[in-house]
Amino acid sequence: MNVPKELEYTKEHEWVAVDGRMARIGITDYAQGQLGDIVYVELPEVGAEVTAAEPFGSIEAVKAVSDLFAPVSGVVKEINSAITDSPELVNSSPYGEGWMIVVETGKPEELEKLMSAEDYEKLVETESP
Protein backbone atom coordinates (compact mmCIF):
# COMPACT_ATOMS: atom_id res chain seq x y z
CA MET A 1 0.00 0.00 0.00
CA ASN A 2 1.31 3.37 -1.03
CA VAL A 3 1.01 6.25 1.53
CA PRO A 4 3.14 9.20 0.37
CA LYS A 5 4.81 10.96 3.33
CA GLU A 6 4.31 14.47 1.93
CA LEU A 7 0.49 14.23 1.89
CA GLU A 8 -2.07 14.59 4.66
CA TYR A 9 -5.03 12.30 5.20
CA THR A 10 -8.56 11.90 6.57
CA LYS A 11 -10.24 8.98 8.25
CA GLU A 12 -12.56 8.78 5.21
CA HIS A 13 -9.48 7.72 3.19
CA GLU A 14 -8.89 10.93 1.32
CA TRP A 15 -5.55 12.58 0.79
CA VAL A 16 -4.89 16.31 0.76
CA ALA A 17 -1.92 18.13 -0.79
CA VAL A 18 -1.74 21.49 0.94
CA ASP A 19 -0.27 24.48 -0.91
CA GLY A 20 -0.99 27.68 1.03
CA ARG A 21 -4.79 28.03 1.07
CA MET A 22 -5.19 25.54 -1.80
CA ALA A 23 -6.00 21.92 -1.00
CA ARG A 24 -5.77 19.31 -3.77
CA ILE A 25 -7.92 16.30 -2.84
CA GLY A 26 -8.16 12.68 -3.92
CA ILE A 27 -8.74 9.20 -2.48
CA THR A 28 -5.95 7.00 -1.15
CA ASP A 29 -4.43 3.91 -2.70
CA TYR A 30 -6.02 1.86 0.09
CA ALA A 31 -9.45 3.36 -0.71
CA GLN A 32 -9.24 2.64 -4.45
CA GLY A 33 -8.12 -0.92 -3.69
CA GLN A 34 -11.06 -1.48 -1.35
CA LEU A 35 -13.55 -0.02 -3.83
CA GLY A 36 -12.26 -2.06 -6.76
CA ASP A 37 -12.89 -1.06 -10.37
CA ILE A 38 -14.23 2.48 -10.42
CA VAL A 39 -16.75 3.16 -13.19
CA TYR A 40 -18.18 6.62 -12.45
CA VAL A 41 -17.03 9.63 -10.46
CA GLU A 42 -19.43 12.47 -9.74
CA LEU A 43 -17.71 15.77 -8.91
CA PRO A 44 -19.06 19.22 -7.98
CA GLU A 45 -18.75 22.14 -10.40
CA VAL A 46 -16.06 24.77 -10.22
CA GLY A 47 -17.32 27.51 -7.93
CA ALA A 48 -19.37 25.18 -5.73
CA GLU A 49 -18.96 25.47 -1.96
CA VAL A 50 -18.03 22.39 0.00
CA THR A 51 -18.19 21.87 3.76
CA ALA A 52 -15.77 19.81 5.82
CA ALA A 53 -17.11 16.31 6.61
CA GLU A 54 -20.03 16.73 4.18
CA PRO A 55 -20.27 14.85 0.84
CA PHE A 56 -18.96 16.76 -2.19
CA GLY A 57 -19.44 13.98 -4.73
CA SER A 58 -19.66 10.24 -5.12
CA ILE A 59 -17.75 7.38 -6.58
CA GLU A 60 -19.29 4.25 -8.09
CA ALA A 61 -17.35 1.02 -8.32
CA VAL A 62 -18.72 -2.17 -9.88
CA LYS A 63 -19.83 -3.47 -6.48
CA ALA A 64 -20.36 -0.38 -4.35
CA VAL A 65 -21.11 3.31 -4.23
CA SER A 66 -19.40 5.69 -1.78
CA ASP A 67 -19.76 9.34 -0.96
CA LEU A 68 -16.71 11.57 -1.19
CA PHE A 69 -16.36 13.66 1.97
CA ALA A 70 -14.74 17.08 1.88
CA PRO A 71 -11.65 17.19 4.12
CA VAL A 72 -11.93 21.01 4.37
CA SER A 73 -14.50 23.75 3.75
CA GLY A 74 -14.16 26.19 0.89
CA VAL A 75 -14.78 26.92 -2.78
CA VAL A 76 -13.98 24.44 -5.56
CA LYS A 77 -11.36 26.07 -7.83
CA GLU A 78 -10.54 23.14 -10.13
CA ILE A 79 -11.98 19.74 -10.93
CA ASN A 80 -10.27 16.85 -12.71
CA SER A 81 -12.60 16.28 -15.65
CA ALA A 82 -10.23 13.57 -16.95
CA ILE A 83 -11.56 11.18 -14.30
CA THR A 84 -15.19 11.68 -15.26
CA ASP A 85 -14.25 10.37 -18.72
CA SER A 86 -11.62 7.86 -17.55
CA PRO A 87 -12.53 6.86 -13.99
CA GLU A 88 -10.01 4.01 -14.08
CA LEU A 89 -7.34 6.70 -13.54
CA VAL A 90 -8.42 6.74 -9.90
CA ASN A 91 -7.48 3.07 -9.65
CA SER A 92 -4.24 3.31 -11.59
CA SER A 93 -2.97 6.63 -10.23
CA PRO A 94 -4.82 7.66 -7.06
CA TYR A 95 -2.23 10.28 -6.03
CA GLY A 96 -1.45 11.50 -9.57
CA GLU A 97 -3.74 11.60 -12.59
CA GLY A 98 -6.62 10.39 -10.42
CA TRP A 99 -6.83 13.55 -8.28
CA MET A 100 -10.35 14.94 -7.85
CA ILE A 101 -10.72 18.59 -6.88
CA VAL A 102 -8.81 21.64 -5.65
CA VAL A 103 -10.49 23.63 -2.88
CA GLU A 104 -9.53 27.12 -1.72
CA THR A 105 -10.08 26.77 1.95
CA GLY A 106 -11.83 29.50 3.91
CA LYS A 107 -10.88 27.97 7.27
CA PRO A 108 -7.15 27.23 7.26
CA GLU A 109 -7.45 25.89 10.82
CA GLU A 110 -9.24 22.85 9.37
CA LEU A 111 -6.02 21.87 7.65
CA GLU A 112 -4.45 21.32 11.06
CA LYS A 113 -6.94 18.54 11.82
CA LEU A 114 -5.69 16.36 8.97
CA MET A 115 -3.71 13.20 9.75
CA SER A 116 -0.07 12.54 9.01
CA ALA A 117 0.99 9.64 6.78
CA GLU A 118 2.14 7.70 9.89
CA ASP A 119 -1.22 8.14 11.62
CA TYR A 120 -3.08 7.20 8.45
CA GLU A 121 -1.06 4.01 8.07
CA LYS A 122 -2.00 3.05 11.63
CA LEU A 123 -5.67 3.71 10.89
CA VAL A 124 -5.56 1.44 7.83
CA GLU A 125 -3.87 -1.31 9.83
CA THR A 126 -6.76 -1.30 12.30
CA GLU A 127 -9.33 -1.41 9.46
CA SER A 128 -7.64 -4.04 7.31
CA PRO A 129 -9.13 -7.51 7.37
Binding site: G36, D37, V39, V62
Partner: protein
Protein backbone atom coordinates in the same frame (compact mmCIF):
# COMPACT_ATOMS: atom_id res chain seq x y z
CA UNK B 1 -24.03 -14.09 5.47
CA UNK B 2 -23.48 -11.63 8.26
CA UNK B 3 -25.12 -13.79 10.90
CA UNK B 4 -22.45 -16.44 10.49
CA UNK B 5 -19.84 -16.07 13.19
CA UNK B 6 -16.43 -15.85 11.55
CA UNK B 7 -15.15 -18.58 13.83
CA UNK B 8 -17.55 -21.04 12.24
CA UNK B 9 -16.84 -19.96 8.69
CA UNK B 10 -15.51 -22.94 6.72
CA UNK B 11 -12.70 -23.14 4.18
CA UNK B 12 -13.04 -24.95 0.88
CA UNK B 13 -10.30 -27.37 -0.18
CA UNK B 14 -9.02 -24.58 -2.44
CA UNK B 15 -8.68 -21.90 0.25
CA UNK B 16 -4.86 -21.89 0.12
CA UNK B 17 -4.96 -21.63 -3.68
CA UNK B 18 -7.05 -18.48 -3.41
CA UNK B 19 -4.78 -16.88 -0.84
CA UNK B 20 -1.69 -17.72 -2.96
CA UNK B 21 -3.36 -16.12 -5.98
CA UNK B 22 -4.07 -12.92 -4.02
CA UNK B 23 -7.78 -13.56 -3.53
CA UNK B 24 -9.60 -11.18 -1.20
CA UNK B 25 -11.33 -13.64 1.11
CA UNK B 26 -14.73 -12.78 2.59
CA UNK B 27 -17.25 -14.78 4.59
CA UNK B 28 -20.10 -15.76 2.26
CA UNK B 29 -22.92 -18.16 3.11
CA UNK B 30 -20.79 -19.72 5.86
CA UNK B 31 -17.64 -20.11 3.74
CA UNK B 32 -14.47 -18.10 3.21
CA UNK B 33 -14.69 -17.29 -0.49
CA UNK B 34 -12.65 -15.06 -2.84
CA UNK B 35 -14.66 -11.99 -3.86
CA UNK B 36 -11.96 -10.98 -6.32
CA UNK B 37 -8.29 -11.59 -7.10
CA UNK B 38 -7.02 -8.74 -9.29
CA UNK B 39 -10.09 -6.92 -10.55
CA UNK B 40 -13.77 -7.79 -10.99
CA UNK B 41 -13.75 -6.09 -14.37
CA UNK B 42 -10.74 -8.01 -15.68
CA UNK B 43 -11.96 -11.34 -14.31
CA UNK B 44 -15.35 -10.73 -15.90
CA UNK B 45 -13.84 -9.85 -19.28
CA UNK B 46 -11.52 -12.85 -19.19
CA UNK B 47 -14.52 -15.20 -18.88
CA UNK B 48 -16.25 -13.45 -21.80
CA UNK B 49 -13.11 -13.44 -23.99
CA UNK B 50 -11.31 -16.72 -23.19
CA UNK B 51 -11.68 -18.65 -19.95
CA UNK B 52 -11.84 -18.32 -16.16
CA UNK B 53 -11.87 -20.77 -13.24
CA UNK B 54 -14.20 -20.49 -10.25
CA UNK B 55 -14.27 -22.32 -6.94
CA UNK B 56 -17.93 -22.96 -6.19
CA UNK B 57 -17.41 -25.66 -3.58
CA UNK B 58 -19.68 -23.72 -1.24
CA UNK B 59 -22.69 -24.99 -3.22
CA UNK B 60 -24.67 -27.84 -1.67
CA UNK B 61 -24.86 -31.33 -3.20
CA UNK B 62 -27.51 -33.87 -2.18
CA UNK B 63 -27.99 -37.34 -3.65
CA UNK B 64 -31.32 -39.11 -3.70
CA UNK B 65 -31.54 -42.82 -4.42
CA UNK B 66 -33.93 -45.70 -4.03
CA UNK B 67 -37.07 -47.04 -5.68
CA UNK B 68 -39.12 -43.97 -4.84
CA UNK B 69 -36.47 -41.38 -5.77
CA UNK B 70 -37.88 -40.31 -9.15
CA UNK B 71 -41.36 -39.81 -7.76
CA UNK B 72 -40.35 -37.90 -4.66
CA UNK B 73 -37.85 -35.61 -6.45
CA UNK B 74 -40.60 -34.67 -8.85
CA UNK B 75 -42.83 -33.80 -5.89
CA UNK B 76 -40.24 -31.34 -4.56
CA UNK B 77 -39.55 -29.44 -7.76
CA UNK B 78 -41.65 -27.32 -10.12
CA UNK B 79 -39.99 -28.49 -13.35
CA UNK B 80 -40.55 -32.04 -14.64
CA UNK B 81 -37.81 -34.56 -13.87
CA UNK B 82 -40.08 -37.37 -15.08
CA UNK B 83 -38.64 -37.55 -18.58
CA UNK B 84 -34.98 -37.04 -17.67
CA UNK B 85 -32.58 -39.59 -19.10
CA UNK B 86 -29.31 -40.55 -17.45
CA UNK B 87 -26.92 -37.76 -18.42
CA UNK B 88 -29.51 -34.96 -18.36
CA UNK B 89 -29.41 -31.88 -16.15
CA UNK B 90 -32.51 -29.82 -15.36
CA UNK B 91 -32.92 -26.34 -13.85
CA UNK B 92 -35.85 -26.00 -11.48
CA UNK B 93 -37.35 -24.14 -8.59
CA UNK B 94 -38.45 -25.83 -5.37
CA UNK B 95 -41.47 -24.21 -3.74
CA UNK B 96 -43.38 -24.00 -0.48
CA UNK B 97 -47.09 -24.82 -0.48
CA UNK B 98 -47.87 -21.12 -0.97
CA UNK B 99 -45.75 -20.95 -4.14
CA UNK B 100 -42.88 -19.03 -2.51
CA UNK B 101 -39.45 -20.31 -3.51
CA UNK B 102 -37.43 -22.56 -1.15
CA UNK B 103 -34.51 -22.50 -3.60
CA UNK B 104 -33.54 -22.83 -7.23
CA UNK B 105 -31.42 -25.81 -8.10
CA UNK B 106 -29.95 -28.14 -10.71
CA UNK B 107 -31.20 -31.73 -10.90
CA UNK B 108 -28.84 -34.32 -12.40
CA UNK B 109 -30.28 -37.69 -13.48
CA UNK B 110 -27.65 -40.17 -12.28
CA UNK B 111 -27.39 -43.86 -13.25
CA UNK B 112 -29.16 -44.86 -10.03
CA UNK B 113 -30.73 -41.71 -8.66
CA UNK B 114 -30.49 -37.92 -8.64
CA UNK B 115 -27.94 -35.27 -7.70
CA UNK B 116 -29.43 -31.99 -6.51
CA UNK B 117 -27.19 -28.92 -6.48
CA UNK B 118 -28.46 -26.10 -4.28
CA UNK B 119 -27.36 -22.64 -3.19
CA UNK B 120 -24.78 -22.50 -0.40
CA UNK B 121 -26.82 -20.09 1.70
CA UNK B 122 -29.77 -22.49 1.57
CA UNK B 123 -28.00 -25.79 2.06
CA UNK B 124 -29.08 -26.47 5.65
CA UNK B 125 -32.60 -25.15 5.07
CA UNK B 126 -33.04 -27.15 1.87
CA UNK B 127 -31.74 -30.35 3.43
CA UNK B 128 -34.19 -29.95 6.32
CA UNK B 129 -37.07 -29.18 3.93
CA UNK B 130 -36.31 -32.18 1.76
CA UNK B 131 -35.94 -34.47 4.77
CA UNK B 132 -39.37 -33.38 5.99
CA UNK B 133 -40.80 -34.29 2.59
CA UNK B 134 -39.00 -37.59 2.03
CA UNK B 135 -40.59 -40.81 0.89
CA UNK B 136 -40.03 -44.03 2.87
CA UNK B 137 -38.68 -45.77 -0.25
CA UNK B 138 -35.93 -43.20 -0.99
CA UNK B 139 -32.62 -42.30 0.65
CA UNK B 140 -31.04 -38.89 0.98
CA UNK B 141 -27.32 -38.14 1.42
CA UNK B 142 -25.73 -34.73 1.93
CA UNK B 143 -22.36 -34.65 0.13
CA UNK B 144 -21.84 -30.89 0.45
CA UNK B 145 -18.91 -31.21 2.85
CA UNK B 146 -16.99 -33.77 0.78
CA UNK B 147 -17.49 -32.35 -2.71
CA UNK B 148 -15.20 -29.86 -4.40
CA UNK B 149 -16.92 -28.06 -7.27
CA UNK B 150 -15.08 -25.91 -9.79
CA UNK B 151 -16.55 -24.09 -12.77
CA UNK B 152 -14.47 -23.61 -15.90
CA UNK B 153 -16.25 -20.94 -17.92
CA UNK B 154 -15.65 -19.12 -21.18
CA UNK B 155 -15.54 -19.67 -24.96
CA UNK B 156 -12.21 -21.53 -24.60
CA UNK B 157 -13.33 -23.78 -21.71
CA UNK B 158 -13.70 -26.79 -24.02
CA UNK B 159 -10.08 -26.47 -25.20
CA UNK B 160 -8.79 -26.31 -21.64
CA UNK B 161 -10.71 -29.28 -20.28
CA UNK B 162 -9.88 -31.35 -23.37
CA UNK B 163 -6.18 -30.57 -22.83
CA UNK B 164 -6.11 -31.92 -19.30
CA UNK B 165 -9.05 -34.33 -19.16
CA UNK B 166 -10.28 -37.59 -20.62
CA UNK B 167 -13.95 -37.64 -21.55
CA UNK B 168 -16.42 -36.84 -24.32
CA UNK B 169 -16.22 -33.09 -23.62
CA UNK B 170 -16.48 -31.88 -27.21
CA UNK B 171 -19.66 -33.90 -27.79
CA UNK B 172 -21.25 -33.09 -24.44
CA UNK B 173 -24.43 -31.10 -25.02
CA UNK B 174 -25.56 -28.10 -22.98
CA UNK B 175 -27.19 -29.26 -19.73
CA UNK B 176 -25.73 -32.79 -20.10
CA UNK B 177 -23.22 -34.51 -17.79
CA UNK B 178 -20.69 -37.34 -18.12
CA UNK B 179 -18.23 -39.31 -16.00
CA UNK B 180 -14.71 -38.24 -16.84
CA UNK B 181 -11.17 -37.82 -15.58
CA UNK B 182 -9.49 -34.48 -15.15
CA UNK B 183 -5.77 -34.58 -14.31
CA UNK B 184 -6.19 -38.29 -13.64
CA UNK B 185 -8.91 -37.66 -11.05
CA UNK B 186 -12.33 -39.25 -11.44
CA UNK B 187 -15.07 -36.66 -11.59
CA UNK B 188 -18.52 -35.77 -12.85
CA UNK B 189 -18.48 -33.05 -15.50
CA UNK B 190 -21.53 -31.14 -16.75
CA UNK B 191 -21.84 -28.55 -19.48
CA UNK B 192 -23.47 -25.99 -17.25
CA UNK B 193 -22.66 -22.64 -15.68
CA UNK B 194 -23.85 -19.31 -14.36
CA UNK B 195 -22.12 -16.92 -16.76
CA UNK B 196 -23.86 -17.07 -20.16
CA UNK B 197 -20.70 -18.52 -21.64
CA UNK B 198 -19.89 -22.06 -22.68
CA UNK B 199 -18.33 -24.00 -19.85
CA UNK B 200 -18.14 -26.97 -17.55
CA UNK B 201 -18.77 -27.65 -13.89
CA UNK B 202 -16.55 -30.33 -12.39
CA UNK B 203 -17.59 -32.27 -9.26
CA UNK B 204 -14.87 -34.19 -7.46
CA UNK B 205 -13.84 -35.56 -4.09
CA UNK B 206 -12.96 -32.82 -1.64
CA UNK B 207 -9.26 -33.70 -1.34
CA UNK B 208 -8.71 -33.83 -5.10
CA UNK B 209 -9.60 -30.14 -5.41
CA UNK B 210 -6.11 -28.58 -5.31
CA UNK B 211 -4.59 -30.98 -7.88
CA UNK B 212 -7.43 -30.45 -10.34
CA UNK B 213 -7.40 -26.67 -9.78
CA UNK B 214 -3.66 -26.55 -10.51
CA UNK B 215 -4.01 -28.72 -13.62
CA UNK B 216 -6.80 -26.57 -15.07
CA UNK B 217 -4.89 -23.35 -14.34
CA UNK B 218 -1.79 -24.82 -15.98
CA UNK B 219 -3.70 -26.07 -19.05
CA UNK B 220 -5.35 -22.66 -19.40
CA UNK B 221 -2.15 -20.66 -19.13
CA UNK B 222 -1.68 -20.24 -22.93
CA UNK B 223 -5.20 -18.77 -22.98
CA UNK B 224 -4.49 -16.39 -20.09
CA UNK B 225 -6.87 -18.22 -17.75
CA UNK B 226 -7.59 -16.32 -14.53
CA UNK B 227 -9.16 -17.41 -11.26
CA UNK B 228 -12.48 -15.60 -10.92
CA UNK B 229 -14.14 -14.51 -7.67
CA UNK B 230 -17.70 -14.04 -6.49
CA UNK B 231 -17.74 -10.39 -7.63
CA UNK B 232 -17.40 -11.28 -11.31
CA UNK B 233 -19.63 -14.33 -10.86
CA UNK B 234 -22.37 -11.88 -9.87
CA UNK B 235 -21.80 -9.42 -12.75
CA UNK B 236 -21.58 -12.29 -15.27
CA UNK B 237 -24.86 -13.84 -14.14
CA UNK B 238 -26.64 -10.48 -13.96
CA UNK B 239 -25.63 -9.57 -17.54
CA UNK B 240 -27.45 -12.69 -18.74
CA UNK B 241 -30.30 -12.18 -16.27
CA UNK B 242 -29.94 -15.32 -14.20
CA UNK B 243 -31.73 -14.99 -10.86
CA UNK B 244 -29.80 -15.03 -7.59
CA UNK B 245 -31.58 -16.53 -4.60
CA UNK B 246 -31.73 -13.99 -1.77
CA UNK B 247 -31.74 -11.09 -4.25
CA UNK B 248 -34.17 -11.81 -7.08
CA UNK B 249 -36.05 -14.78 -5.69
CA UNK B 250 -36.91 -15.92 -2.17
CA UNK B 251 -39.80 -17.30 -0.11
CA UNK B 252 -41.88 -14.16 -0.80
CA UNK B 253 -41.68 -14.50 -4.60
CA UNK B 254 -43.03 -17.20 -6.88
CA UNK B 255 -41.31 -18.64 -9.96
CA UNK B 256 -44.14 -17.25 -12.12
CA UNK B 257 -43.47 -13.70 -10.88
CA UNK B 258 -39.74 -14.26 -11.46
CA UNK B 259 -40.30 -15.14 -15.15
CA UNK B 260 -39.31 -18.72 -14.39
CA UNK B 261 -42.67 -20.02 -15.64
CA UNK B 262 -40.81 -22.14 -18.21
CA UNK B 263 -39.52 -24.19 -15.24
CA UNK B 264 -43.01 -24.67 -13.73
CA UNK B 265 -44.88 -27.62 -15.23
CA UNK B 266 -48.46 -27.31 -14.03
CA UNK B 267 -49.51 -30.26 -16.20
CA UNK B 268 -47.34 -32.81 -14.36
CA UNK B 269 -48.39 -34.81 -11.28
CA UNK B 270 -48.90 -33.04 -8.02
CA UNK B 271 -45.93 -31.13 -6.61
CA UNK B 272 -45.49 -28.88 -3.58
CA UNK B 273 -46.89 -25.45 -4.41
CA UNK B 274 -48.80 -26.56 -7.51
CA UNK B 275 -52.17 -25.42 -6.20
CA UNK B 276 -50.95 -21.94 -5.29
CA UNK B 277 -49.08 -21.51 -8.58
CA UNK B 278 -52.06 -22.70 -10.65
CA UNK B 279 -54.26 -20.23 -8.83
CA UNK B 280 -51.77 -17.40 -9.34
CA UNK B 281 -51.59 -18.20 -13.03
CA UNK B 282 -55.39 -18.26 -13.34
CA UNK B 283 -55.81 -14.97 -11.49
CA UNK B 284 -52.97 -13.26 -13.35
CA UNK B 285 -49.74 -11.88 -11.93
CA UNK B 286 -49.82 -8.65 -9.93
CA UNK B 287 -46.08 -8.03 -10.35
CA UNK B 288 -43.23 -9.27 -12.47
CA UNK B 289 -39.45 -9.43 -12.32
CA UNK B 290 -38.12 -7.22 -15.11
CA UNK B 291 -34.70 -6.19 -16.35
CA UNK B 292 -33.76 -2.59 -17.04
CA UNK B 293 -30.86 -0.64 -18.50
CA UNK B 294 -29.74 2.81 -17.40
CA UNK B 295 -29.67 5.39 -20.17
CA UNK B 296 -26.85 7.61 -18.90
CA UNK B 297 -24.47 7.29 -16.01
CA UNK B 298 -25.44 5.80 -12.69
CA UNK B 299 -25.79 2.29 -11.36
CA UNK B 300 -28.88 0.65 -9.86
CA UNK B 301 -28.24 -1.01 -6.49
CA UNK B 302 -30.41 -3.48 -4.55
CA UNK B 303 -33.04 -1.64 -2.54
CA UNK B 304 -33.30 1.44 -4.76
CA UNK B 305 -36.87 2.48 -5.50
CA UNK B 306 -38.38 2.10 -8.98
CA UNK B 307 -40.75 4.94 -9.89
CA UNK B 308 -43.13 5.72 -12.75
CA UNK B 309 -44.43 9.31 -12.80
CA UNK B 310 -43.24 9.75 -9.24
CA UNK B 311 -45.12 6.73 -7.86
CA UNK B 312 -43.35 3.67 -6.51
CA UNK B 313 -43.87 0.60 -8.72
CA UNK B 314 -41.18 -1.63 -7.19
CA UNK B 315 -37.61 -1.98 -5.96
CA UNK B 316 -34.29 -3.06 -7.41
CA UNK B 317 -33.37 -6.64 -6.42
CA UNK B 318 -30.04 -6.88 -8.31
CA UNK B 319 -28.07 -4.04 -9.83
CA UNK B 320 -24.56 -3.40 -11.02
CA UNK B 321 -22.43 -1.92 -13.72
CA UNK B 322 -22.33 -4.39 -16.60
CA UNK B 323 -18.66 -4.73 -17.53
CA UNK B 324 -19.52 -6.11 -21.00
CA UNK B 325 -22.52 -3.86 -21.67
CA UNK B 326 -20.82 -0.71 -20.43
CA UNK B 327 -23.82 0.58 -18.52
CA UNK B 328 -25.82 0.23 -15.36
CA UNK B 329 -28.16 -2.78 -15.41
CA UNK B 330 -30.59 -4.22 -12.92
CA UNK B 331 -33.58 -6.36 -12.13
CA UNK B 332 -36.54 -5.78 -9.88
CA UNK B 333 -40.20 -6.58 -9.32
CA UNK B 334 -42.61 -3.99 -10.69
CA UNK B 335 -46.40 -3.76 -10.74
CA UNK B 336 -47.87 -5.57 -13.75
CA UNK B 337 -49.03 -2.29 -15.31
CA UNK B 338 -45.45 -0.99 -15.38
CA UNK B 339 -43.75 -4.17 -16.58
CA UNK B 340 -43.86 -3.84 -20.39
CA UNK B 341 -40.71 -3.79 -22.48
CA UNK B 342 -39.95 -0.15 -23.27
CA UNK B 343 -41.46 1.16 -20.02
CA UNK B 344 -39.40 4.05 -18.65
CA UNK B 345 -38.51 3.91 -14.97
CA UNK B 346 -36.84 6.28 -12.54
CA UNK B 347 -34.39 4.59 -10.17
CA UNK B 348 -34.17 6.44 -6.89
CA UNK B 349 -31.65 6.00 -4.10
CA UNK B 350 -32.55 7.65 -0.81
CA UNK B 351 -31.58 11.31 -0.87
CA UNK B 352 -30.20 11.18 -4.42
CA UNK B 353 -31.42 12.42 -7.77
CA UNK B 354 -33.05 9.72 -9.89
CA UNK B 355 -31.50 7.72 -12.72
CA UNK B 356 -33.52 7.12 -15.91
CA UNK B 357 -33.82 3.53 -17.10
CA UNK B 358 -35.83 1.47 -19.59
CA UNK B 359 -37.23 -2.06 -19.29
CA UNK B 360 -35.62 -4.35 -21.87
CA UNK B 361 -36.32 -7.83 -23.16
CA UNK B 362 -34.04 -10.83 -22.54
CA UNK B 363 -30.44 -10.86 -21.39
CA UNK B 364 -28.53 -7.58 -21.24
CA UNK B 365 -25.55 -9.30 -22.85
CA UNK B 366 -26.57 -11.37 -25.86
CA UNK B 367 -23.24 -12.41 -27.43
CA UNK B 368 -22.42 -15.20 -24.95
CA UNK B 369 -20.85 -18.45 -26.18
CA UNK B 370 -23.31 -20.58 -24.19
CA UNK B 371 -24.16 -23.66 -26.26
Amino acid sequence: MTETAEGKTRKTALYDKHVEAGGRMVPFAGWWMPVQYRSIMEEHRRVRSTVGLFDVSHMGEFEVRGRGAAKVVNRWITNDAGNLKVGDVLYSAMCYEDGGIVDDLLVYRLEDGFLLVVNAANEAKDFEWIREHMAPDAELVNNSRNTTLVALQGPKAEDVITEVGTGPFRDLGFYRWCRAEVAGVKCLVSRTGYTGEDGFEVYLDWDDGPAVWDALMEAGRPLDIEPVGLGARDTLRLEVRYCLYGNDIDKTTTPLEASLGWAVKLDKDDFIGKGALAQQKAEGLKRKLVGFEVEGRGIPRPGHLLLVNGSEVGRVTSGSFGPSTGKGIGMGYVDKGASSVGQELMIQAEGKSGIGATIVRGPFYKQGSRK
